[in-house]
């Protein structure tokens, strides 16, 4: 399904489920909300996207099929922290955590 942020009804279940939300400066539902409001740059600036574990718990709980973790992934990618060769190796079957962990390390 397309990650349509407009489907979000701001229930907060993603943030309530996220194991890292308590330590984030911007909780997962806000990534969706800001994107919905046409302000993805503020998501990029948030430290939270580097706290995300890519466990996808938020996506499993979301009643509307929105994918907050993917918003974070896009935000990370959006600021050029893509290691070309890592991303090239990303395939469907690879656990999400792998490239994320690699990116996080690359950032230092």
């Amino acid at each position: 399904m397309m990650n349509n942020e407009n489907r979000c009804m701001l229930c907060g279940r993603c943030s309530a489920a996220c194991p890292m939300a308590a330590r984030m400066d911007l909780p997962p539902h806000m990534w969706v909300y800001r994107t919905q409001r046409g302000d993805p740059s503020s998501v990029r600036k948030a430290d939270a996207i580097w706290k995300c574990l890519s466990c996808l718990c938020c996506e499993a709980r979301c009643p509307r099929g929105v994918k907050p973790a993917h918003v974070a992934e896009e935000a990370r990618a959006g600021q050029g922290y893509i290691l070309e060769d890592v991303m090239k190796r990303v395939d469907e079957n690879m656990p999400q955590q792998l490239p994320v962990a690699a990116l996080r390390k690359a950032r230092g």
Binding site: R7, M9, L10, C11, G12, R13, C14, S15, A16, A17, C18, A21, A22, P27, H29, M30, C57, R61, C62, P63, R64, G65
Partner: protein, 640 residues
């Protein structure tokens, strides 16, 4: 043939996208068309006058109306034609609104298409025959399926009008979910107090024949004349002998769910007040030993040899009122419903605070019987959930019953800390908003905008992990009792019932009304009516209103002695029929019979679906009003 064509503008609905003047003009090219006219609203009085006058003035033998779907106004226009002396089946409708104006943006293309559809209708009308509706008798008896408040109200209203009603309820007692409720929003009157009198009325009404512990097994026939087989399940108790004393219940050694014995009466005010033996948990039926209830029963009402009984009865109309269930929570593991005794559903909470429930109305935790210091209600569990595990719709009653539960808890123990997790609080309804505000303002219930992500059992308490969306921060807490407002869904037998009644269901399994606004209690199948939760989420006042409306429709039908039947039924051309019987095999209504070397259609049973005409290899079967020749002429006109 002398044909008149009338093109409707439907205000701007059609005119904005279809060039009405152009098609009115062009259709005159057909030599059979002797008059053609356009009009702003053909369905209005002026429009109908235009048609009837033209029929008389031009001596028309056929009429083509270019307007909206025949589902909207076919009857209107056919009545007008009949008034002017034209056989109403000599009138055809070309649907240039739904099929042209509303689905196209390009005016030129839409106009061309409208012209083609009109030409097809003209081709069809040229081959039309005058048809004459028949008559069928109305059986003056109604059937109501489901004995919740919906079925109870409908049965009472029909019976009060003087018609006999059979009420079929699958469980041992009528009452449905309302009989399990403690109090009812927004007035907080006791549910049993307002329901029980109605239940007693049903049982004692001379016009109502109650079949509890029974299910409908087969439905045949058509509006005015249904034949229904009802299976009365073996209760193992002779209803004519039982006095309802309850001695058997005391004697039964089995303890099942909610402390229910193997022989049981669902609740104290059950109607009828006659127990049933659950053969799955009864020791005698399991191991052949026990029979303690039999020994205890003075009037000798226990009958282990009882068997299912089938009765067949005729009805003129049927109401479906099969109600609802709460969804199962297996897929919602994060709330820990199965893992923790103190995580319960709202219906279970209703039982706990109910004086006739398992705790005698004491608000205590299922795990240890203690009064909870804190209760957390979670709304929208599975509602408004567009994923595979939930329901995309709003269950409608949860906001209100959660406010009711919060108030009830505070009434019983003002010291309990009560909180409600919500996404939106929806309170449209008379005195609903005031009721919810009372929970907040008078009772001090804490409403938190946000949802719970996880519930974990911990040292006899429950840890919840939630979001406070207005604080934009996490709200994690330790609580004692979690109550889940589980989404509602149609009763599991609704689909089976709908199939038997040939009554359509929607994507969520609710029985569909014929029109969402204008025919809210009728099914698309004639003679079948709906009310209550089986049709969609609704509260008791709405359910009762709908039930009375359905009853009113049924009464309107039963007062008639005869119904006119649709003449558009199948008919065999005996000269071409080889008697192969393929038509009889495909007919879903059992309307075709094979007789010696040919077949015959029972016009009363035929619904005019046309399946047989397609199956017939020799082209001997024709649907009147939609003959093969007519359909081919339409196709030729469209392709020409």
């Amino acid at each position: 043939m002398r044909i008149g064509v009338f093109v409707c503008h439907c205000g701007n609905n059609i005119k904005a996208t279809v060039d009405a003047a152009y098609i009115t003009e062009r259709l005159r090219d057909d030599s059979s068309v002797v008059c053609s006219a356009e009009f702003p609203y053909l369905c209005a009085e002026g429009g109908q006058k235009l048609i009837t006058e033209a029929i008389a003035e031009h001596n028309l033998t056929g009429v083509v109306i270019c307007a909206c779907s025949p589902r909207m106004h076919e009857t209107t226009f056919r009545k007008a034609a009949a008034k002017a002396g034209l056989n109403p089946y000599r009138l055809e409708i070309a649907n240039i609104r739904e099929q042209c104006a509303w689905v196209h943006k390009n005016k030129e293309e839409a106009t061309e298409k409208a012209l083609s559809l009109a030409k097809a209708a003209i081709a069809k009308i040229k081959l039309s025959q005058p048809l004459f509706p028949g008559e069928s008798r109305v059986t003056k008896r109604a059937l109501v399926i489901g004995g919740g408040i919906a079925g109870i109200q409908a049965a009472l209203d029909i019976a009060e009008a003087g018609f006999p009603v059979d009420l079929v309820e699958k469980s041992p007692s009528i009452g449905g979910k309302m009989a399990q409720l403690d109090k009812t929003f927004p007035t907080l009157d006791c549910s049993a107090c307002i329901l029980t009198p109605k239940m007693v009325d049903v049982a004692s009404h001379e016009k109502i024949n109650l079949h509890t512990y029974s299910e409908v097994e087969k439905v045949e026939g058509f509006v005015g004349s249904f034949t229904v087989t009802i299976r009365k399940k073996a209760r193992s108790v002779d209803m004519t002998k039982c006095t309802g004393c309850g001695d058997c219940l005391a004697a039964c050694p089995v303890k099942g769910k909610e402390n229910r014995k193997a022989i049981y009466i669902p609740y104290a005010q059950a109607v009828p007040n006659v127990p049933a033996i659950d053969r799955e948990s009864c020791l005698y039926f399991k191991n052949g030993k026990c029979k303690r209830c039999e020994k205890a029963c003075q009037p000798k009402a226990i009958d282990f040899t009882q068997e299912d009984e089938r009765i067949t009865e005729g009805y003129g109309a049927i109401i479906a009122a099969t109600g609802f269930e709460a969804i199962r929570l297996d897929a919602f593991g994060e709330y820990g419903y199965h893992a923790n005794k103190d995580v319960i559903t709202s219906l279970e909470f209703e039982r706990i605070i109910n004086a006739s429930g398992p705790t005698g109305g004491k608000l205590v935790r299922p795990s240890d019987g203690s009064v909870p210091a804190r209760i957390s209600f979670i709304q929208c569990v599975g509602s408004r959930d567009a994923t595979a595990r939930g329901k995309p719709y709003c269950s409608k009653v949860c906001c209100m019953y959660t406010a009711k539960h919060a108030i009830s808890a505070k009434e019983k123990h003002p010291e309990i800390d009560v909180e409600v997790f919500y996404i939106d609080v929806r309170t449209p309804g008379k005195n609903f908003e005031e009721f919810y505000r009372r929970a907040v303002e008078v009772y001090g219930v804490r409403y938190i905008k946000g949802q719970v992500g996880k519930v974990i059992g911990e040292n006899g308490s429950l840890r919840i992990q939630a979001m406070d969306m207005l604080e934009n921060g996490r709200y994690d807490a330790v609580t004692d009792l979690v109550v889940l407002a589980a989404a509602i869904e149609p009763s599991d037998s609704a689909k089976k019932v709908a199939q038997m009644l040939s009554s359509p269901i929607d994507a969520n399994g609710f029985l569909s009304e014929a029109h969402p606004k204008l025919r809210p209690v009728e099914s698309a199948t004639a003679g079948i009516f709906l009310c209550g939760m089986c049709n969609g989420p609704k509260d008791i006042p709405e359910t009762v209103a709908q039930a009375s409306a359905a009853a009113c429709k049924v009464i309107g039908l039963l007062v008639k002695d005869q119904l006119t039947t649709n003449p558009c039924t199948a008919k065999t051309d005996e000269n071409n029929c080889s008697g192969c019987g393929l038509c009889a095999e495909v007919c879903p209504y059992g309307a075709v019979g094979v007789i010696s070397h040919s077949t015959a259609v029972n016009a009363a049973l035929c619904q005019g679906c046309g399946g047989c005409t397609v199956a017939c290899p020799s082209g001997a079967m024709n649907l009147q009003g939609f003959s093969r020749a007519q359909i081919i002429a339409e196709v030729d006109a469209l392709c020409g």
